[in-house]
């Protein structure tokens, strides 16, 4: 989308080659790898020995109750916080030792909307383009492209303080994309949004994922993550409880899933199945063996919610 330039008089961190010693062949398919990552604030162990692998190209949901350590993990990923112990590698570089390499390759959207109210929408994005050292000649096209992507083109010259929360959220996302990062880390991007704005955000994230970006997202709205995420990790009290594709975790835990079937006569029945094989067997039995007129066969959402509830204990640190 954009390229950066070194011909600036402002103090932009210089281009730094990726630390190749840190990138192994195995890491080529990994966007983030945390190994025994811990963060302690005084007596509080906010993140406790976290082992996490985020595959490249995935939409990765980090789930957990308030105080689980999600934002702290994101802050360590984003080169804002130093881990107390353990290691994290983001896009092949250690954010503690090579923060500039990480910053060039990732976009971070914190959970709070930090926007400058006395700027216009285009000026706001131009400011961040300048902060990433992008040449002025590229700003117009860059801003046009980003505003089109987040559907804010009509608000180009509007003041930021006149935008709705949903629009500000999308503007923040555009800001995180300004330097065309490969990895997006989004902390609670859907909080406070109305249903329409949530749907729009979800679609936008799918589009970005389709563009090849790895997305790591935290949210309390589990049904949305379930639909969107290819992988999830569940945290509580700083510890990782489970990680992987949601269905795999459910199956690993031996959890059943609910399938609701609606018949042509208007009747509706719920069935409980253990896995994909059992689900297809159910459909075959209903349609082929019993000859019933099935008009709808839906796996009920709530699987992630069910998973979350079965794994977490509501521990507050």
């Amino acid at each position: 989308m954009t390229s950066t330039t070194d011909t600036t008089t402002i103090e932009i961190l210089p281009t730094e080659p990726t630390d190749t010693t840190e990138t192994t062949a195995a890491d080529a398919s990994v966007a983030v790898r945390a190994t025994q990552l811990s963060k302690r604030y005084g007596n509080l162990l906010a993140v406790n020995g976290l082992d996490l692998t985020v595959p490249r190209g995935s939409i990765f949901g980090l789930i957990g109750p308030n105080g689980a350590g999600k934002s702290t993990t994101f802050a360590m990923m984003s080169s804002l916080l130093l881990p107390t112990s353990g290691r994290i590698v983001v896009m092949g570089a250690d954010p503690s030792r090579k923060p500039r390499t990480v910053r060039r390759r990732m976009g971070y959207m914190p959970d709070n909307l930090g926007v400058y109210d006395n700027l216009r929408v285009d000026e706001y994005l131009e400011f961040f383009a300048a902060s990433y050292g992008i040449a002025r000649t590229e700003w117009t096209d860059l801003v046009d492209g980003l505003l089109e992507l987040v559907d804010l083109s009509v608000k180009r010259t509007a003041m930021v303080n006149s935008l709705s929360r949903g629009m500000k959220q999308r503007l923040s996302l555009a800001r995180a994309l300004v330097h065309d990062p490969e990895l997006l880390v989004l902390d609670e991007p859907a909080s406070g949004l109305d249903p329409r704005a949530r749907v729009e955000l979800r679609e936008l994230l799918k589009t970005l994922n389709g563009m090849g970006k790895t997305i790591i997202i935290s949210s309390h709205i589990l049904s949305e993550l379930e639909e969107m995420c290819t992988d999830v990790a569940i945290m509580e009290a700083g510890k990782l409880l489970a990680a992987g594709p949601p269905r795999q975790i459910l199956e690993r835990l031996g959890g059943a899933r609910n399938v609701r079937v609606r018949f042509a006569n208007g009747a509706s029945e719920a069935f409980s199945v253990a896995d994909d094989a059992e689900q297809s067997a159910l459909l075959r039995r209903l349609v082929v063996e019993e000859g019933r007129d099935v008009v709808e066969f839906v796996e009920e959402s709530g699987g992630l919610e069910q998973l979350f509830m079965s794994l977490t204990e509501g521990i507050v640190q």
Partner: protein, 318 residues
């Protein structure tokens, strides 16, 4: 070529709000009022148009009063306009997105300082016409006028740097504002208060004249401006002025004369008093330069701490 993004954004935001114009209005109104009151005060005793000596004295007085009020306004407005520079970003949660960009912490600090200083310089240059009234009356040379305004510009820049650095060390705008005003008050009052306290302690021993180090009075914006604005027309040249800068000058001269022979004397090999034109000599290290160097050292120390505080990744959230 690209301007510091923080500076560019700050200037745009600052000039977009009506606040900037209100501050310019207040600043110029107070300076004009000062010039008017000083002029009125001198002309109530009779027409001065035919008395060249009185005119010249009035010109000098007016110049020094305007300089003093200008300095007082700088000391008031710099904390008011700059204290929230970085603490405000933290409070509005706009600092975090900035810290994950490729800007260095010192670029953020420099952008903030340049934006704050630019506005203060705008205020000071806008007040030059008021200063010209004193020039028209006589008693000062154009170079003296420029020197006076120039030294206030330097103080404004250094104070902006120090207050911005303090802002980087705090989390809330309210705390930063209190800290900035407290710090500015200390800068003005600490030296003289220490001097007075030591004078009293010294005098109570009964076997010595009061002679605390006059150096205590140097790191003070009023002393710096008083010395830089002294020019050629001082008390010994027949133009006895009556204004705060003259009082500050007299105070430092007296303090210096009391400890010329002490081990802590202010550059014993030089004659500091010469810088205040007591003996008509012009050698020695100027007092204003000594003060500016002191303030610059303090500003450098605070900036170092501020840059460290802004640096990420860090142990705790910055």
């Amino acid at each position: 070529m690209m301007m510091n993004p923080v500076l560019s954004r700050e200037l745009r935001e600052r000039m977009r709000t009506g606040r900037a114009f209100v501050v310019v209005g207040i600043f110029l109104s107070l300076l004009t009022l000062t010039a008017y009151l000083v002029y009125q005060g001198s002309t109530t005793t009779g027409d001065i148009s035919a008395d060249l000596a009185r005119q010249t004295r009035l010109g000098r007085d007016l110049y020094e009063w305007v300089l003093f009020v200008m300095l007082a306004l700088v000391l008031f407005f710099v904390p008011a306009l700059t204290a929230g520079a970085i603490a405000g970003e933290r409070e509005r949660q706009t600092l975090l997105p900035l810290q994950v960009t490729l800007l260095r912490p010192r670029s953020i600090l420099v952008g903030k300082v340049l934006a704050g200083s630019s506005f203060m310089l705008l205020l000071l240059f806008a007040s030059l016409p008021v200063m010209m009234v004193a020039y028209l009356l006589g008693g000062i040379r154009p170079l003296d006028g420029l020197k006076g305004v120039g030294i206030i510009c330097v103080i404004a820049i250094l104070l902006t740097l120090m207050v911005t650095a303090l802002s980087a060390l705090t989390r809330r705008v309210q705390t930063a504002t209190l800290l900035a005003y407290g710090f500015t008050a200390l800068l003005v009052l600490l030296g003289p208060l220490l001097y007075l306290t030591m004078s009293v302690a010294d005098g109570s021993e009964g076997n010595d004249v009061e002679n605390p180090p006059a150096l205590l009075l140097a790191l003070n914006p009023i002393t710096i401006v008083a010395d830089a604005a002294a020019g050629d027309n001082t008390s010994n040249s027949g133009f006895s002025s009556n204004n705060p800068l003259e009082w500050a000058r007299s105070g430092v001269i007296k303090a210096k004369s009391l400890n010329d022979d002490s081990w802590f004397a202010w550059f014993p090999d030089d004659n500091f008093r010469a810088q205040f034109r007591v003996e008509g000599k012009d050698d020695g290290f100027p007092a204003w330069a000594l003060g500016v160097v002191g303030l610059a050292d303090l500003a450098a120390l605070l900036s170092f701490l501020a840059v460290r505080r802004l640096r990420t990744p860090a142990e705790t959230e910055r």
